[in-house]
């Protein structure tokens, strides 16, 4: 029976909450409604109102109380309803969630998972299609994970909840309905390891979250042109698996980074910087970036022009191969 990404994450939440009664799930509309994407569907029914509950409408409040609950000994999972509504919680995430364990010299642990549906492509109104991963990845003290498959949705969510470090868990919302035949539970590689989703010889394509499927489609299209793309799913954006990234580029000599977030200071910048630091003499072409533009996320009718797609990836491949 096929399972979607949303169902896989839902199952991970259920299994984690069954396994450990210190695990709590809360946020806006996660209770009776089961979340606007139904990712928390059934949790309140199964675990009661003290383990899965709706909060008042206040994101700083959600993260700040998650920190307090973690200090008490719980393992909170906090949902931010949409990527664009995490910003009111920025202070609590950056100044406390990320920094308090270090501030405490190790006495305070904050095993908090912050679930954020992120990214565009679903025709939503403003603030519902943001890709804020660079903000989190730049912030020391956070781990940042994003699954590209339902299997990883399950396994990486379990890993996040079990992590004693705070994890920003970015759920690629346009892939919530992506299906897999995988039986659950499943354990995939640890999140910190990038995974080669498709081997190739001409160009390495680094991608994550919603862009994994797009990159694989690009690899199919590229094959028709006679280009062999290696598709690397990064999975963890902090830490980055630099060794695997560099190793892939050493094999292919060319690299492209794909993400929805704006190009300027997006993950592509850091990955490009690391590649040229680590594989300088192997590079046949500059690391190129197929990303969103350096403008605010556009209205729904124009998002197809803004978002990176197969064509934009292939264009980058072509430019890379032209060097």
């Amino acid at each position: 029976m096929a399972v979607t990404m949303a169902q896989a994450i839902n199952q991970a939440l259920k299994d984690a909450m069954s396994a450990d009664d210190r695990v709590l799930m809360f946020g806006e509309d996660v209770g009776r409604l089961g979340g606007v994407f139904r990712v928390t569907d059934g949790l309140q029914e199964m675990f009661g109102e003290e383990r899965c509950f709706d909060t008042p409408l206040a994101e700083s409040g959600i993260i700040g109380t998650a920190i307090g609950l973690a200090m008490y000994g719980y393992r909170p999972i906090a949902e931010m309803q949409f990527d664009g509504f995490t910003y009111p919680a920025f202070e609590q995430i950056v100044s406390h969630l990320a920094k308090m364990p270090n501030r405490s010299r190790g006495t305070v642990k904050l095993p908090v998972t912050v679930r954020i549906p992120f990214g565009g492509g679903i025709g939503a109104v403003e603030h519902h299609s943001e890709s804020p991963e660079a903000y989190w990845a730049h912030t020391a003290g956070l781990k940042v994970f994003t699954p590209g498959t339902p299997e990883d949705g399950y396994s990486m969510m379990r890993e996040s909840i079990e992590s004693d470090d705070p994890v920003i868990f970015l759920e690629p919302k346009r892939r919530y309905w992506m299906k897999s035949d995988q039986q659950l539970p499943v354990t995939t590689q640890p999140a910190r390891e990038a995974v080669v989703r498709r081997e190739g010889t001409d160009v390495s394509v680094f991608c994550y979250g919603p862009m994994v499927r797009t990159a694989l489609e690009a690899a199919d299209a590229a094959a028709d042109e006679g280009w062999s793309l290696e598709i690397v799913d990064l999975r963890s954006l902090a830490p980055l698996d630099t060794a695997s990234i560099v190793a892939s580029v050493k094999r292919t000599g060319r690299a492209i980074v794909v993400h929805e977030a704006a190009r300027n200071l997006g993950l592509g910048a850091e990955i490009a910087a690391r590649i040229q630091e680590g594989a300088f003499y192997h590079l046949e072409a500059p690391v190129l970036r197929a990303t969103g533009f350096d403008t605010p996320y556009p209205p729904a009718k124009l998002e197809e022009y803004w978002l990176p797609d197969v064509d934009r990836i292939l264009d980058a491949v072509e430019r890379s191969l032209a060097y």
Partner: protein, 386 residues
């Protein structure tokens, strides 16, 4: 507790902690101001006298009917795939129309995403407004033309813009009032809290108009706050907290009017809680059957603000078949206009993505402008070939 006949002014300077006004006057009355019963019966209230002509009374009704019609049209447009999503204001017409009607034309409105009724009072082009929901553009009306700010989607954030704007009006010595709308859920966010703090200290001519429609998506009021009423928050900022029956357009109008006069007279902000009910789903994407019952909906239907005002006008002999026909006509015409405005909307020009990010964009994304132009040409070629 009953409200004082004239609104108290906020304490201006309390170096010694001494209060100039009795703080209890900041508390809401025990019951929301209510002037018209469901059957149209009118109750005098000396604190909230009616200063409207017959024509204005009819206009209030007309505005509510047009609002509902356009609202319904928007839901239809969404079902037909013309809008991505839509947040209905059905049930909240009186709260919106009554409050917006109390403003002068130079006054400003800072809305959330649900204020179609208020927009129609300001004659904002409804088709333009809906382009936000269609996704043609992020917005499509000029705020300066109607003194109606862009709709704010991040909850409560617009309360600060209204407060800053009102500070500006005061500095500038202009008798302009700013009114901001947010929801019961919105009262939990930090921004409206900070806005009321600023407004209280700065004595800004701003009105915080909360439509308490009982829900924030699925979350009912009791899970949102333990406050006795939302209006009890006002005293914590040194503002009067007032309540009205938000399904009673005359009560809403009268309570807002008083707040407007207070603000314009330089006495500062007011917080108003309008008791109403969201009769539709949160948005067209929502499934309210998961969190509320048919019985609750049926009970809410009995408080319908349109029926109430019609009953009132009928009792006052201000309503007849002719008026009904004229209003229906206008509502239909507006709906048709909106429908056409949405269906006939040109597809936005992707190159505009770069046009408004900066007034001086030099250095930001020249290569990306070229890239998109090339992509569009490539796609055009591909289409031409295909």
């Amino acid at each position: 507790m009953s409200e004082p006949a004239t609104e108290p002014s906020a304490p201006t300077d309390r170096p010694d902690g001494a209060e100039e006004v009795d703080p209890l006057t900041f508390l809401p009355a025990d019951e929301p101001v209510h002037l018209v019963d469901a059957d149209g019966t009118y109750h005098e209230d000396p604190d909230h006298p009616l200063d409207l002509t017959d024509e204005q009374l009819r206009e209030l009704y007309r505005l509510m009917v047009v609002t509902r019609k356009v609202d319904r049209e928007a839901i239809n447009l969404q079902r037909q795939g013309q809008l991505g999503v839509y947040a209905s204001c059905m049930g909240q017409e009186a709260a919106q129309v009554g409050s917006a009607y109390a403003l002068g034309t130079d006054d400003w409105i800072f809305p959330s995403y649900r204020e179609l009724g208020a927009a129609l009072v300001r004659d904002v082009d409804a088709a333009g407004l809906l382009h936000l929901y269609r996704g043609t553009w992020l917005s499509d009306h000029d705020p300066y033309k109607h003194n109606f700010a862009l709709m704010a989607i991040p909850i409560g954030t617009q309360a600060l813009h209204a407060t800053g704007f009102a500070m500006g009006a005061r500095f500038d010595g202009k008798p302009i009032v700013a009114m901001t709308y947010f929801g019961d859920g919105g009262t939990s966010e930090g921004d409206p809290h900070e806005a009321m703090t600023f407004a209280g200290v700065m004595k800004s001519p701003v009105i915080f108009f909360v439509q308490n429609n009982q829900y924030a998506i699925s979350v009912p009021l009791a899970k949102q706050t333990a406050a006795p009423t939302l209006a009890h928050k006002a005293i914590g900022y040194g503002l009067p907290g007032r309540r009205c029956d938000g399904n009673d357009v005359l009560a809403t109008y009268a309570v807002t009017k008083r707040a407007v006069e207070r603000a314009r007279a330089g006495h500062g902000p007011t917080f108003i809680e309008a008791m109403t009910y969201r009769m539709e789903a949160h948005t067209t994407s929502d499934d309210p059957s998961r969190y509320r019952t048919k019985e609750e909906l049926d009970a809410a239907a009995l408080t319908d603000p349109l029926a109430r005002m019609r009953n009132y006008l009928t009792k006052r002999d201000l309503y007849d078949a002719e008026l009904e026909a004229a209003i229906d006509e206008q509502a239909k015409a507006t709906a048709t206009y909106v429908r056409a405005g949405i269906y006939d909307a040109p597809h936005g020009d992707p190159m505009e993505l770069f046009d408004h990010v900066y007034t001086d964009p030099r250095g930001h994304f020249e290569d990306q402008v070229e890239q998109l132009r090339a992509e569009l040409e490539g796609a055009g070629d591909a289409e031409g070939q295909g």
